[in-house]
């Protein structure tokens, strides 16, 4: 019943969600489990993973009541913890060294957990709220299972889950990537945004504009922006719609064509998953399992004739053939919003309209859409043209000689060397930077705990065995990570290269003078 024996059968990864408030009596332990991947593991194994997690949460609270267990490192596995909501824990177990790429940066894995949870909340509200709605747990299980399985299906390479490893050390999940544009284009965009604002009347609607997979403008709060941006890049952007032919996006990883998870694990319906995840048939809610909206389902968004993106994920309006408009929850306002994406060439506009402001449902939404087409079409055309003209292609942000990641923690923005360029780096260089980032992650979290408000200031340059420089600079809430493979021998030369980069591309944020 070992963890290891179980995980070897499952691509070396396990993911579970459990509620510490449930199943406290003997014999009811299964009640705790809200989600477990892979679902066909014997319950005894599932319970042993959760038992260890729970045990260590309790144990670490003896010494560290304010922050319980974050990670367990064992010789063959890392267990990454994330307390998504009070007493609701997500734990991911990854196997180490199974292949040469199985070297993980813990913080990157934790951000995967955070991301899937944030997205879930955006579509369905909090896990706790759903548990309160249906204390049997059937409702939440029937929602979590397809959602997370769909989410995981974005990580495949062949038949395996390819989680972010050291090779992804020049990426930062949970941030948005912005398009840099000229002044003229910015003015056009600004005017388009104000038109969008007016489309939904005077109610508190929001908009977001993307060009390819890059953010052009947003009127949402930072957290909501990240969630919606992530979703858009995963499922709505032109690249996502064209089903992963082109995969240069910063967010989407790999091709989405092989739906190995949804193809195999999801549809496999052994007695196990029947029991846990399909139990809602008998639950008080009585929802048919088929009614659960799979917000992250692949290949379900289409571009309609009018340019609006539609999906039948949210079902069809009763008595018509019209697809129901999806709704999302905003974190900041805790308000339900209609999600109306519109696409013109590489430009994607997302309009969010408060559900409460539209009295007659789909009809009202259609009216708003109509208004948008009438009022904004021209502007959209113009903006698309301007942005296309200035667009440098997928290597637009490549800086020759540098492989970098720039993170603005205060604004949740990142920019990085294009993935295609990063793959040219030697494994040793990437490993050196990944390890350095591990160290920096620790220092950052310490600084955060010790003196909230006081920013960490740090500069590290390491010359690795293969003579590449791995560089990290943290200052004023901004972070710069860099690998320089051809920066000659001296520290001064490497520092100089960083300085030049900082002056040229970061407004001197990382410059010393």
């Amino acid at each position: 019943m070992g963890l290891a024996s179980a995980s070897t059968a499952t691509d070396g990864m396990q993911l579970c969600i459990f509620d510490l408030r449930r199943g406290q009596n003997e014999g009811q332990e299964l009640d705790k489990i809200l989600f477990f991947f892979p679902a066909d593991l014997p319950f005894s194994t599932q319970l042993s993973v959760i038992g260890l997690s729970e045990g260590l949460i309790t144990f670490t609270r003896i010494f560290s009541p304010e922050a319980a267990c974050e990670v367990i490192e064992a010789e063959r596995h890392s267990h990454v913890f994330y307390e998504a909501e009070t007493d609701i824990w997500m734990v991911m177990v990854v196997e180490k060294g199974k292949d040469s790429d199985a070297i993980w940066r813990i913080d990157a894995l934790r951000k995967v957990l955070k991301e899937v949870h944030s997205l879930f909340v955006m579509f369905y509200g909090s896990i706790r709220a759903m548990l309160e709605k249906d204390p049997s747990g059937g409702l939440i299980r029937s929602h979590l299972y397809p959602f997370i399985m769909d989410y995981l299906s974005d990580f495949p390479v062949g038949k395996k889950l390819q989680l972010p490893s050291f090779r992804d050390c020049l990426k930062e999940r949970g941030t948005v990537q912005m398009l840099t544009m000229g002044r003229e284009a910015a003015i056009e965009v600004q005017s388009l945004v104000s038109v969008l604002d007016s489309c939904a009347g005077n109610s508190s609607s929001y908009s977001m504009i993307l060009f390819h997979d890059l953010l052009v403008s947003t009127t949402l709060s930072p957290d909501d922006t990240i969630n919606l941006f992530t979703y858009a890049a995963l499922r709505l952007s032109p690249n996502a719609l064209s089903s992963g032919v082109n995969s240069w996006s910063y967010i989407r990883r790999g091709s989405t064509s092989s739906h190995f998870v949804s193809g195999s694990a999801l549809t496999h319906s052994g007695p196990v998953s029947e029991q846990i995840y399909h139990s809602s048939d008998t639950s008080p809610v009585g929802n048919n399992i088929n009614r659960v909206t799979r917000a992250l389902q692949h290949g379900k968004w289409y571009k309609g004739k009018d340019g609006f993106l539609v999906t039948d994920i949210w079902g069809v309006v009763v008595g018509s053939l019209v697809c129901a408009t999806p709704t999302v929850w905003l974190q900041q306002t805790e308000e339900a919003m209609y999600l109306c994406p519109y696409q013109f060439k590489s430009l994607t506009l997302i309009l969010l309209i408060p559900v409460s402001s539209i009295l007659n449902g789909e009809q009202g939404v259609a009216l708003v859409k109509q208004q948008l087409l009438e009022n904004a079409s021209l502007k959209i055309l113009k903006v698309e043209e301007k942005l296309s003209k200035g667009w440098g292609g997928e290597n637009a942000y490549h800086v020759s000689g540098y492989r970098y990641l720039l993170v603005d923690g205060d604004r949740n923005i990142s920019r990085a060397s294009p993935p295609g360029k990063v793959t040219t780096l030697a494994k040793e260089s990437l490993l050196a930077l990944s390890k350095l980032r591990d160290e920096v992650d620790l220092e950052k979290s310490r600084a955060k705990r010790d003196n909230a408000g006081c920013e960490k200031d740090l500069e590290v340059s390491i010359r690795a065995k293969n003579n590449a420089w791995a560089v990290a600079r943290i200052t004023g809430g901004k972070e710069l990570y860099m690998v320089l493979e051809k920066a000659s021998e001296t520290l001064l030369y490497a520092s100089d290269a960083v300085e030049k980069f900082s002056n040229r591309y970061c407004n001197g944020a990382f410059s010393l003078d």
Binding site: A67, L458, V460, K465
Partner: protein
């Protein structure tokens, strides 16, 4: 004796090979454990107890309980000032500076921190503090760095804080965690929670655990657990495993009874002794000729059947000689000198004690003849023969005569007072490689007084903001560390700097991809520069505002300086160490 082989033999062979011939190990263990319970040893060994290392020492400890390593000279290791800092203001500014209770309780740190500010608790036991605490006490939970040793059945063997017996439940919890993970065919290494790290080290039937919020890296803490285990092996040998084979519920505490002080002194040294993470030893600075004289007489005795002969001053080596092909690992030297220095009885009488060198041969006892020439300087003669006491005593007398005749002991005293390399003395222009005797410092100020530790004196360190450095020679397995001077003056600042070095060392020597070649690190406390080559490693700390280019130049000057005085600061031409 079966232990004279020069290479550390594989323990597995000795333990699992049922071959009955090399049996003495077991006997020795029994002997050692017997003497622990018997009140006295074998009278035939003169005034010393034959197995006093673990036996009599323990008794003596009860008087010497408040005795840390003796007061500091300008030796640079102000961290040694265990006892002397007792009454001084251990004002805890940054909580990372202390292993005691975080923030809450104003209490003393490290070696002597059991002595409450005013009222020593009546239940106080040597080497162990806060013995009245257990895992239910808030104060216990808030200690910044716990160390535990337990058996695989969950029986407590050692705890840095609190009474082992009261911690049986806690110990069982640790055991449960370890075995839970082991049931899954895995082995737990680390748990991280907020500021806290729980580090596990599994050594056969012995489990070691550190729970710490000191910000040290996992690798550092794990290294410390390795040393703690080594210290236990030094006292008992690895054959203790056999007891667990025979009886999994075997209670080891009586075997180690009273050695708390050895462990707590080792744990304290993690704060101030760079040897604990550099895996190298350091020498007392001495004129080349003086060290040669000491080496020559040690070599004489080594030729007469002594396996290792070490002359040390506190934790620094004066000279060291090994029998042909025998080599001594720096970690063994650290553990041995810690054992000797922390055990009061060695100071008061010549002793002959069974010890084990875990890196040399973890399964067998050697015998250590220990004699103090003065308060700080002591001789250790190691042999494989259990009845060599009188021979070694004769050797010691011979050595003592020569040392006195050639003024070695007074030179040692002088060096203690003068201290070692000081950053202020870094030559501006490296002189040609003349052999000016004792050129460590050009204008030594001998008037250093304890005020140097007060914050009122604001020093700027050496030229170009150089505050401190450690140079480790890879071939020699030795390091030299500059003396502390302002602004790195308080023990807290020194501990913080050592921890920064420790982190840097671990970062440079990453197991997967290390060693790196160069590292430059600037944070709010320091600029740290590390340079690893085939010949040496340099760790240097500068003012956080130091200029990069100038710092690099300064590092080059430090390396040149070290080369210029290497005959004085390093033990040259010792038997080649080839581990």
């Amino acid at each position: 004796m079966s232990t004279s082989s020069s290479s550390p033999s594989s323990d597995e062979e000795l333990i699992f090979n049922p071959n009955p011939i090399p049996k003495p190990i077991d006997d020795e263990l029994t002997l050692a454990s017997l003497t622990l319970t018997e009140s006295n040893g074998n009278g035939s060994v003169g005034e010393s107890d034959r197995y006093g290392g673990a036996g009599v020492v323990l008794e003596a400890e009860r008087e010497g309980e408040r005795e840390g390593p003796s007061s500091p000279s300008s030796s640079g290791y102000a961290g040694e000032r265990g006892s002397s800092s007792e009454g001084t203001s251990n004002s805890r500014i940054g909580d990372e500076d202390d292993d005691g209770i975080q923030e809450v309780i104003n209490d003393h740190d490290g070696f002597v921190d059991g002595v409450g500010d005013s009222s020593p608790s009546p239940s106080w036991v040597p080497g162990k503090r806060h013995v009245d605490e257990d895992d239910a006490s808030i104060s216990w939970r808030k200690r910044k760095k716990h160390f535990f040793i337990l058996s695989h059945s969950g029986k407590p063997i050692y705890s840095r804080y609190g009474d082992e017996h009261k911690l049986a439940g806690f110990s069982a919890t640790l055991q449960a965690i370890i075995s839970f993970v082991e049931n899954g065919k895995d082995r737990i290494k680390l748990v991280r929670a907020g500021k806290h790290q729980v580090v596990f080290l599994i050594k056969g039937p012995i489990y070691l655990v550190c729970i710490s919020c000191t910000e040290e890296s996992y690798e550092s803490l794990r290294g410390q657990l390795e040393l703690l285990y080594g210290q236990m092996i030094l006292i008992l040998t690895k054959s203790v495993n056999r007891c667990f084979e025979k009886n999994p519920k075997f209670d080891m505490t009586p075997l180690l009874g009273g050695t708390d002080v050895v462990f707590s002194s080792l744990i304290h040294s993690f704060n101030w002794n760079p040897a604990t993470f550099l895996h190298a030893y350091t020498c007392l600075p001495l004129a080349y000729a003086t060290r040669q004289a000491a080496g020559a007489v040690l070599q004489d005795v080594a030729d007469s059947g002594v396996l290792f002969a070490l002359l040390m001053c506190k934790c620094k080596v004066v000279s060291l000689v090994g029998a042909q092909k025998a080599s001594l690992h720096p970690d063994d030297m650290l553990l041995l000198s810690n054992f000797v220095m922390s055990s009061e009885s060695f100071r008061t009488s010549e002793s002959f004690s069974p010890i084990c060198l875990p890196r040399y041969n973890p399964t067998a006892f050697l015998y250590a003849y220990v004699h103090y020439f003065d308060a700080d300087t002591y001789l250790m003669l190691l042999t494989t023969s259990s009845d060599a006491f009188y021979h070694l005593k004769d050797c010691r007398i011979r050595i003592e005569q020569v040392l006195l005749r050639s003024n070695v002991l007074s030179e040692v005293q002088r060096s203690m007072l003068e201290g070692g390399m000081r950053v202020e003395d870094l030559p501006v222009d490296p002189l040609p490689r003349s052999s000016m005797p004792h050129r460590l410092s050009q204008q030594r100020i001998l008037t250093q007084s304890p005020e140097i530790f007060s914050e009122s004196i604001v020093g700027i360190g050496g030229p170009t903001g150089l505050w401190h450095f450690i140079y480790r020679s890879i071939y020699l397995d030795q390091y030299v560390s500059s003396d502390f001077s302002p602004p790195i003056s308080s023990p807290q600042q020194q501990k913080r700097l050592y921890r920064a070095y420790q982190k840097l060392y671990c970062s440079m020597h990453d197991k997967g991809i290390g060693p790196h070649k160069t590292q430059f690190r600037r944070d709010e406390n320091y600029v740290l520069l590390c340079w690893v080559t085939q010949d040496f490693e340099l760790y240097a700390a500068f003012d956080p505002l130091a200029d990069k280019a100038v710092a690099i130049k300064t590092c080059n000057r430090v390396c040149q300086w070290v080369k210029d005085v290497e005959n004085e600061i390093f033990l040259q031409g010792a038997s080649p160490f080839s581990w």
